[in-house]
Point group: C2
Chain length 368, copies 2
């Protein structure tokens, strides 16, 4: 299997991308095509022991910046890794493309170069999101901002197939993101989509509020439009960050009490045994330990909410496997994204979406 990686894409490129590619080639046994400026890639690759690994380089010297226009970048920069990689997928020279770079450019480029699956109106980006019960898949998180009910129904079908074929979820439970469980909740788009999904062959469980979706035991696939889905991710990140700031702030006024409580055992010992030197020692060690204990759960929250661990988000509805990794991806995250691409290829995801039966099924739902 041949997977093209955008070596120039992402905040930590090319170090993280090349390191992730080396790791993926070693652990997964796949061929990772390194698309980027040849000299730069060669220099970076030389830092690794890549003997025996299949890591060919494809020269793609143009770089897409975050300031480039999403819709035009891949079209104008034909020698960029995004344009080169997507052409290889289109021409069946590679099975998948992975990028941690400008996600808008990759999404627009994928539609332009690889093209949509026949019958699919719009693509959707399906992102893994942590929940109490495990992982939730949210789509769309930003590929298609303004949606019609028919688009959302297709997102539901495609994401349900992804959940089955790639995530190994049997008969995934599909829900619509809304501000209440009742079918009368949500805006017009949600209400009309609700009616269509009820008449579909999907395992539609109705509307889900954020708290139900995050509980993780009632929903596997959460469907929404690209604007609301993108805000759903961003609000979660914002609240997690807010929580960290708040925790630091509440720590200050309560520090006295924390330290007092933390030193209580020591103080008691002292009262019983009278030993001043040892108290100072205990305070020196106990204080930092306490603070570390308080900060740990909040750091954990931000880690869990960071979707790097999920291995990137597939762009569903285009005629090839395209995985969008987080811009902040480190080497492990890049390797995970390549792994996800491999799983999508092995799971026959694009064929399943393209499959005539599925297509008829989707179309029948739309006609209903």
């Amino acid at each position: 299997m041949k997977i093209v990686l955008d070596v120039s894409g992402g905040d930590h490129a090319p170090q993280a991308t090349v390191a992730g590619a080396v790791q993926a080639a070693r652990e997964l046994g796949v061929e990772v095509v390194l698309a980027g400026d040849e000299q730069m890639v060669r220099a970076e690759l030389a830092k690794h022991n890549a003997a025996g690994l299949r890591l060919p380089i494809v020269h793609a010297p143009e770089v897409i910046d975050m300031t480039d226009h999403a819709g035009q970048a891949a079209r104008r920069k034909k020698a960029s890794p995004v344009a080169v990689g997507l052409r290889m997928v289109r021409d069946k020279e590679a099975e998948a493309f992975v990028s941690a770079g400008h996600s808008g450019a990759t999404m627009a480029g994928a539609v332009l170069i690889v093209g949509r699956v026949p019958g699919i109106e719009r693509p959707c980006l399906a992102a893994p999101f942590p929940s109490v019960g495990g992982n939730l898949i949210v789509a769309d998180v930003g590929a298609t901002t303004d949606c019609k009910p028919e688009y959302l129904v297709q997102f539901a079908h495609m994401t349900s197939l992804y959940a089955q074929r790639v995530m190994g979820i049997h008969n995934p439970r599909v829900a619509l993101l809304a501000n209440g469980e009742e079918a009368t909740k949500g805006d017009k788009l949600v209400q009309e989509t609700h009616a269509l999904l009820q008449g579909s062959t999907l395992n539609f469980v109705g509307n889900a509020e954020p708290k139900d979706a995050l509980a993780g035991d009632v929903v596997d696939v959460l469907i929404t439009d690209g604007f609301v889905g993108n805000l759903f991710l961003k609000q979660a990140e914002a609240v997690a960050k807010f929580a960290t700031v708040l925790a630091k702030r509440t720590l200050v006024p309560r520090l006295f009490w924390r330290v007092t409580l933390g030193l209580l055992p020591t103080a008691l010992l002292v009262a019983l045994g009278r030993s001043r030197g040892r108290v100072a020692l205990a305070g020196l060690i106990g204080g930092p330990a306490l603070l570390a204990a308080v900060a740990a759960p909040l750091a954990g929250l931000r880690t869990v909410l960071d979707y790097r661990a999920g291995g990137g988000a597939p762009l569903l509805g285009v005629n090839g496997v395209v995985i969008i990794a987080h811009g902040k991806s480190d080497a492990v995250a890049v390797a995970n994204a390549i792994r996800r691409a491999k799983e999508a290829v092995e799971g026959g995801l694009v064929a399943a979406i393209t499959d005539a039966d599925q297509h008829v099924q989707i179309s029948a739902t739309l006609a209903a």
Copy 2:
């Protein structure tokens, strides 16, 4: 000043509502009209020392349940506190109405009975939301689900007036909730509203992502439609709840290390002084103290995110002061909502929104 309170509304009614009314009458010197079943209100009021306070009762025996249809409840249950209280506001027998009950019924009833301010197309609910820098006001959080750009522009004008007149914010900074700062971000509604707001007389600072809005130092008033705004609140609550669950879960595998770290000072003392009985004592006291220290910041997060403390959300655009308090309001929250109603009346909020100049200003923006 006379403020009508829905005694039957809210999860903790009538205990919390009557106690909140007594507190408000005492602290604010206002007359709080208790609308509810007379016998029930009288029995509840007898538990308090309300001598000298102005707390008249208006008999309103019908109860609106959470299962009642929002649009029809106030119309059908003419003897409910919502219908009775809103009629008093309409007939200028009272200056404001406060309810912690069925918010949909209160909002629909307010439009039906009190009516909209001339020129205002749709009402919006403006909720206080915590931010790092203080308080943010978010509107709409659920009054008008499907919006046109013109509605959002009116929400922005009304909420800006509320921020000035009631919250005392000078020249409030108004932003549009979006998934990016650029004017090209957001869905069509956001993009079209952005253009209208740029041509307005408001202090429009552009789009704000959730992380910018929650930072609190760039935005005072955050404008969005009622569907997205309601999800914005609900996603924040869901993530806060998720954080608490996650913290409890991460505590378990790390408990060994926490306890080890927490007991380190004691262990050192023991190593130096050899005293086994005292170690057991220290462990008994130190363990729970450590756990309490870890749980505290997360409990704080949920408290801050709970918008009870903000004193309820005004329904802007109706021809009177109507305050919606949280369904979970306790006595303090009810008293805060009554205080907010008093401030809105004193600030001349409805007159300001109705004011010809403001109206012209809003209309001019719409025509632009």
